[in-house]
Amino acid sequence: MKDFLISFLSFLDPQWINLIWSLLQIAIVTICLILTVVFLVYFERKVIGYMHARVGPNRVGPKGTLQSIADTIKLLLKEVIIPDKADRFFFLLSPLLLLIPALAAWAVIPFSPEFIIADINAGLLYLLALTSFGVYGVILAGWASNSKYAFLGSMRAAAQMVAYEIAMGFALVGVLMAGGSLKLGEIVAAQTGGVLSWFWIPLFPLFIVYFISGIAETNRHPFDLAEGEAEIVAGFHVEYSGIGFAIFFLAEYINMALISVLTSIMFLGGWESFFAGIPFLESSVFSFLTEPSIFWLLLKTLFFLFVFIWLRASFPRYRYDQLMSLGWKVLIPITILWIGVECIMYVMQIGPWSVT
């Protein structure tokens, strides 16, 4: 597609072509993300419905597929209410502060060996920085609303996100050591080979810890203390209506997809096929099944998204002190321990990585 662009716009400077190409990629990814969210809302309601032995939405459109479009239109048409005593500037800014990092983080995600918006050297660091940026949006939203419930919610969110950030960071250190690079593309490349050479086996505890802290980072069930409907109404976004609420919603789901895609990239071999490395398949007509492609990445991401929703359908919410003690007393020690184990494995040359 880029070749086509180059030939089509050959009268332009190559610099300009690169710029246009980047903008095009950004547009594609953003639109796909928003469509993903639309799908995800429907998917979540259907899956939770099925797990409750109901059928879920089935009225709008065939089998209810247009339900989330109807929801979106409803939300966009609603009146935006700004509380009288709220800080208007921050009140309107904070949904964007949550949404922008959520979208920006996708710039370094390698969807396939070729398709990546910005192949920067410090991809992993960039991701860590941006995912922790989201907490500002939450805190500011709670503070600017000038409501006690919203403020309580944002305080909870702040403490929780900071606590789980650490466990997440340590888990990423493990991935970094195994992959030997901060570039996400190279981390995937380090996992080439079959299912057995993906990092989820040598880094199994880190894999679990990363996913759990990812759930806590996105404020999803069972760690959605920040919105705990039962105690503090809706937490930090209690005062938002209409499109403001829709943006919070969008950011939450985009973050969910981000965590899922990152987990697949860092622990389940990204675009690598499930069937790669099976000699029987590689030599037969099914060899296309062993090819790496974006399809595998999407499949793995979908699985993790399903787990997100599955969790929500299965478990009650944590108590706040339990949440904190899980983060500080369980997840962080486990990650530190496993990094130690990994160091030993590295030095003794056990495991899939090799010292070069």
């Binding site: 899956v47 099925y50 797990m51 032995a53 109901r54 679990i208 599955w310 299965s314 369980v330």
Partner: protein, 161 residues
């Protein structure tokens, strides 16, 4: 914390058990009734919208004895009565506050002349707050409208009373 508990926690056994429960439910047959198109069967004893009944000759049954309003736990019924021209005692005002009523059916039990009844109508609504007060005319009209099916329901149920 003993060692078994520790192992249980670290292997997330309880979580896996929980996951299995919901996964089983995921594949279970769904029991949702597609409501407006499909309806669940109603018992003849179903207690729905209130109505006042008439005799076959069109005379209203109610004799203004006020037993129903006395027994009503929600105090939803208010009655005023006067002597009619033919010398019989009749209500001049018979109002039920549909928001107060809890559809317990005590009024129906208490009525000596089977005047006040509960039909099996449950799909009705009001668009104004004032409409919650069901006047005597409205109640009689409801009774006339659903007369046959109400009588039939009461007959079906009478065997068990």
């Amino acid at each position: 914390m003993n060692i078994i508990q520790l192992i249980k926690k670290l292997t997330l056994i309880d979580f896996i058990k929980g996951f299995i429960v919901t996964l089983k439910a995921f594949f279970r047959r769904k029991v949702t009734v597609q409501y407006p198109e499909v309806k669940t069967p109603l018992s003849p004893r179903f207690r729905g919208k209130l109505a006042l009944m008439r005799y076959d000759n069109g005379e209203e049954r109610c004799i203004a004895c006020k037993l129903c309003s006395a027994v009503c736990p929600a105090q939803a019924i208010s009655i005023e009565s006067e002597e009619r021209a033919d010398g019989s005692r009749r209500t001049t005002k018979f109002e039920i506050d549909a928001f107060k009523c809890i559809y317990c059916g005590f009024c129906e039990e208490a009525c000596p002349v089977d005047s006040i009844v509960e039909t099996d109508i449950f799909e009705y609504h009001m668009t104004e707050n004032e409409q919650r007060i069901q006047t005597k005319e409205m109640l009689l009209a409801t009774g006339d409208e659903y007369r046959e099916q109400t009588i039939e329901n009461k007959k079906k149920d009478s065997r068990y009373r």
